[in-house]
Amino acid sequence: MVLLRHGATAWLLAVGISWVSLGTALALLAEVSGGGLISYYLGSWPAPWGIEYRVDAANAYLALIVSVIAAVVAVYMRRSVAAEVPHERHYLFYAMYALCLAGLLGITVTGDGFNMFVFFEISSLATYVLVALGRDRRALMASYQYLVMGTIGATFFVIGVGLLYLMTGTLNLADMAARLRDVTEPRPVLAALAFITVGISLKLALFPLHLWLPNAYAYAPSAVTAFIAATATKVSVYVLLRFYYSVFGESAVFSALPMGGILLALSLAAIFIASAVAIFQGNVKRMFAYSSVAQIGYITLGVSFDSATGLTAGIVHLFNHALTKGGLFLLLGGIALRLGAVRFDAIGGIGRAMPLTSFGIVLGGLSLIGVPATVGFVSKWYLVLAALERGDWWIAFAVVASSLLAVVYVWRFVEAAYFHAPDARIAKLREAPLSMLVPAWLVIAACVYFGLDTDLTLGGAAAAAGELLRGPR
């Protein structure tokens, strides 16, 4: 794309790449759905010397999430990018998009610790550039903030991996897990665990390490927001899960240290504080960004339960939240295209001018709340069930009570969109172009469809949870 230096061709290439990845991801998932394992030695160097790509039920599921969103966003982004990014930079934008996608998919499929770090850097560097391309000047600042935080996270991660390499002499994750059992000196391993946990938590925006996220989401170009909101943090969650379960083994992490308790407390804090902050945002994109921090809290909450149901809840919410938030940000991109900014005081009465976009946002919002027949409900059901299985009453109540905060912030949009008479500027807006509306609505429709037919999402999540809980192999 960089060689071609031509925006439209680069876009076509990006669409092609994304759809090919989607096909590949589907094929991979089909291959491993029976509990299989695919191992590929890069350059035919056998593991643990060479780099191994290793796909099981857990990362095939993640690769599917990433490539589904990528395929939809790729189609969507042409009009959005045309409006938000200067023409001469279009080919660069698409090149960065492809790099970011490559990085994210690389993280999911690789079985090698250092290789994972490299892919992290590829995707992150590409993301910094993508965020900085936002038309608001604050995008530069947001990107810089993200760069600093992201680099710290990546450094911590690589230090952790380095420590593990020091102790085990291998970078291959499966091999590392096997050799960790024989390591007698626990302190460096604990240090590695701490570095990796903090490093990844920065990347996945676990409260209180989420500070880079709201600005990055709010000021990035619309297509980028939708893409990274739906994928980047999810992939980081996967890395954390992979290290916790497949490398350290659950015994070392969850029983020797109060990791579950720490994660639980942080998750609940994320859910309540970020939801409460979301309520008071003036910018709709920022509001949904804070909502993302809260939703990540639901994911990590499920993980913290350390049970099959809890892990399934967390993993299925990876998918469900990717769909919901992806769809929401795609629709907001339509408003941004027509209106420029997406502030609450500027969108009064937009329900009249852009009925399909607004109604889609309402449906996505209902999924955030967790209304039955949306994907959000499936996640919530499993989270509550997991909490009740542990006998933790108050957590179950906390989960459902926090949905009420989501009702409040979603209803701010409803009241702004439907209870204000549209002013002259709003009244002459047209509906978003079909090339954006159709992909966005496909995602929103998927939110409802997968709320009623959970074979793929829940089945995949349960298989992934089973794979992780089985521990290293």
């Binding site: 709340i369 039955p372 059901w381 179950a396 949905s403 209870f419 009623l452």
Partner: protein, 489 residues
């Protein structure tokens, strides 16, 4: 047509109607014709299911397995049949009334109104025929959301505030309490299907049973048991037909219906009657009956008075179910039907008064019976039914409920019913008296006649039905009786 298709059709037909109504938004006459045709089609479908249910059949339909073990499934049983008959039958009448009301008052956004109305009926049918708690919960939430645009129809600040309260209480209570109750039931019982005799027998302790019941009763906010009742008076900012069909029949009865259904099919009357931890329910319901009646007595706004009367009457159903005797449960089921007829008549009359005379307060109604004789006669019939005077239908259900209280030996409940009957009379009869026997101010505002004819036809029809149900209560009585008869193999 197989019963399964009829059940799915009962949900699908109003939805299809909603789509057609939206498509016909530029042609008001066609749009209203679609509404009427849809309501008639729905009623025919529902009636077609009745013979099989009356004969003891329990038609069922399965749509999808949403999560492992949790299905979107329907199963028709007598109580749901009764609720569906009432709601779909009254929708026809309300549609006729709506046409007169919405045109007579030059309301805005009429297409949205009819679309949401049809959606609300689809949700009500889903609730009536739900085969398990998940399906019930799904349509329960849909009903709240689809009626929200109806409550906030006028788009004013007052409507927006009422809408907030409506959502906060209904969505809040259902998500926080009802959802937890359902997940908990699933966890301890391993099923959430509605099963005759209940699914919790021997699965939970006495204390747990009490907590679960509380989660259900307060989680089903649509039953308006105090303190989860404030949404109902707030919802009165809606246009009158909405208050009439939804906030006297479909929505609130969905709540009362769900409570009875949970008591009969989830807890099981026999399982629960041995438990001491559920004894608080009659007190809460009894308190709601009396307290709401007193508030009604003190309200000058006619719709607000009717709303609090509804809150009070809904707790009749809850209290009757809580008495746990066969007679009282028959009474609870019948009361869902009889109160629906009486109260919709009262709301129709209130809407007719508003349309013809633009009067909303009780104190303005002196002498109105002479200018609107049909309307006020119907109002009188409705009032008599709610008070429970023969020959109005309300007497029948009240008879069963009070007999059930005797059977249970619950003297407090009997005292509540007597006090409430007196209060009912105290807040309705002065209106009737003033309307017919006192003279209002003879000014220009008094120069009005009856409301538009569709409204008069509708309220006369429901008043007639209220009287008729007293004499021919065979079908509802049989359905209610089947609810309590011992399980057949």
């Amino acid at each position: 047509m197989t019963p399964g298709i009829a059940i799915l059709g009962a949900v699908a037909v109003p939805l299809a109607g909603a789509a057609l109504i939206a498509a016909a938004h530029r042609m008001p006459n066609l749009r209203e014709a679609v509404t009427l045709a849809t309501s008639v089609a729905l009623f025919v479908l529902v009636v077609s299911l009745a013979p099989e249910v009356l004969a003891g059949g329990r038609p069922a339909a399965r749509l999808a397995e949403v999560m492992p073990g949790i299905e979107l499934a329907f199963a028709v049983e007598p109580l749901g049949m009764l609720f569906a008959l009432i709601a779909s039958g009254l929708w026809i009448v309300t549609s006729v009334y709506s046409i007169g009301y919405m045109r007579g008052n030059d309301e805005q956004h009429q297409t949205r109104y009819y679309v949401c109305f049809a959606g609300a009926l689809a949700a009500a049918m889903g609730i009536a025929f739900a085969g398990n708690l998940f399906t019930l919960f799904l349509f329960y939430e849909v009903l709240t959301l689809v009626t929200y645009p109806l409550v906030t129809h006028h788009g004013t600040d007052e409507a927006r505030r009422a809408g907030r309260l409506y959502l906060a209480l209904l969505v809040g209570s259902s998500i926080v309490f009802l959802l937890i109750a359902i997940v908990w039931t699933w966890q301890v019982a391993g099923t959430i299907d509605f099963v005759r005799g209940g699914i919790l027998s021997g699965k939970v302790s006495n204390t747990t049973m009490g907590i679960l019941l509380a989660l259900y009763v307060f989680g089903i906010g649509k039953a308006a048991v105090m303190p989860v009742h404030r949404w109902l008076p707030a919802a009165m900012v809606a246009p009158v037909p909405v208050s009439a069909l939804l906030h006297a029949v479909a929505v609130v009865k969905a709540g009362a219906f769900a409570v009875v259904k949970v008591v009969v099919y989830v807890f099981g009357v026999e399982t629960i009657s041995g438990m001491t931890s559920v004894d608080w329910l009659p007190f809460v319901a009894g308190f709601t009956i009396i307290a709401a009646s007193i508030v009604a007595l003190r309200s000058d706004n006619l719709k607000r008075r009717l709303a609090y009367s509804t809150v009070s009457q809904l707790s009749y159903v809850v209290l009757a179910a809580a008495l746990l005797t066969p007679l009282s449960i028959v009474g609870a089921a019948l009361h869902i039907a009889t109160h629906a007829l009486g109260k919709i008549t009262l709301f129709f009359a209130a809407g007719a008064i508003y349309t013809a005379a633009h009067k909303t307060e009780v104190s303005q109604l002196a002498g109105i019976g002479r200018r609107m004789p049909w309307t006020m006669t119907a109002f009188t019939v409705g009032a008599l039914s709610v008070i429970g005077v023969p020959p109005a239908a309300g007497f029948v259900s009240k008879w069963f409920i009070v007999s059930g209280a005797w059977q249970a030996g619950n003297h407090l409940a009997i005292a509540v019913f007597i006090a409430s009957t007196l209060l009912n009379a105290a807040y309705f009869m002065p209106i009737v008296y003033a309307a017919f026997f006192r003279h209002g101010a003879e000014d220009a505002r008094a120069a009005h006649g009856e409301a538009p004819w569709p409204m008069v036809v509708a309220l006369t029809a429901t008043a007639g039905a209220t009287l008729a149900l007293f004499f021919v209560a065979d079908v509802p009585l049989e359905l209610a009786r089947q609810l309590v008869e011992p399980a057949r193999s």
